[in-house]
Amino acid sequence: MKIVYFSWLKEILGISEENVRPPKNIKNIKDLIKWLGTKSIKHRKVFLKSKNIRCSVNHQIVDKNNKIKNNDEIAFFPPFTGG
């Protein structure tokens, strides 16, 4: 599973993407956020603020109950500020 980070999430983590293999009980985005938050101090810092984090699965915006699969590309980012 590929995880992609943007904006301040990328800056805090110091990486723009990583490949992870979450355990089988991680079934949706909410679970994934909890699990990712345990990976490192930096991850905890990012995912503690998860109310301000938006997320996409395979380039579609989804809410946090969205199911996830092993070969998904999952992205975490703050609300958009283009235009």
């Binding site: 943007f6 904006s7 380039h59 992205a75 703050p78 958009f80 283009g82």
Partner: protein, 146 residues
């Protein structure tokens, strides 16, 4: 026509494209990088985006607006990368038979770009880098779902 690009937008060229078809009304919006924020002078802004998602999202907005407001032509260009104050950031051009449609479509597109297209802005000042926060006002403005 949609484009996500690093270089400056040639507004004249795009307006010529919009005017090629012999329509009644052309409206366009140009977003320009501001020279100041609340804490002072901005050296430049930097726009990050999510390449695999950006064009797809903008295309969705273009297709929806073109159909809803019967546009003869629609151009959406959004830049990323470093942008200096005074430079353009985004161009939205709409051409339609009637001006009401051209206006509504153009305003809709820029409203949607703000909250639906995966861009993030950083404001770089002398000793300070700020991740721009999204405006609640902008999210509230979006009523139509598509």
């Amino acid at each position: 026509m949609i484009k996500v690009q690093k270089q400056r937008i040639n507004v004249s060229e795009q307006n010529r494209n919009l005017l090629k078809k012999r329509i009644g009304a052309v409206v366009n919006f140009i977003g320009v990088a501001r020279p100041l924020n609340n804490s002072g002078k901005i050296k430049y802004i930097e726009i990050e985006h999510y390449p695999k998602m950006t064009e797809k999202k903008i295309k969705e907005i273009e297709v929806f607006a073109s159909k809803k407001w019967k546009l003869n032509h629609c151009i959406i260009i959004h830049r990323y990368g470093k942008i200096k104050p005074g430079e353009n950031i985004v161009y939205v051009g709409t051409a339609a038979q009637h001006r009401n449609n051209a206006f509504k479509a153009c305003e809709f597109i820029i409203d949607y770009l703000k909250v639906k297209a995966p861009f993030w802005k950083i404001e770089q000042q002398n000793n300070k880098k700020t991740y721009v926060k999204s405006k609640k006002k902008d999210e509230k403005k979006i009523k139509v779902n598509y």
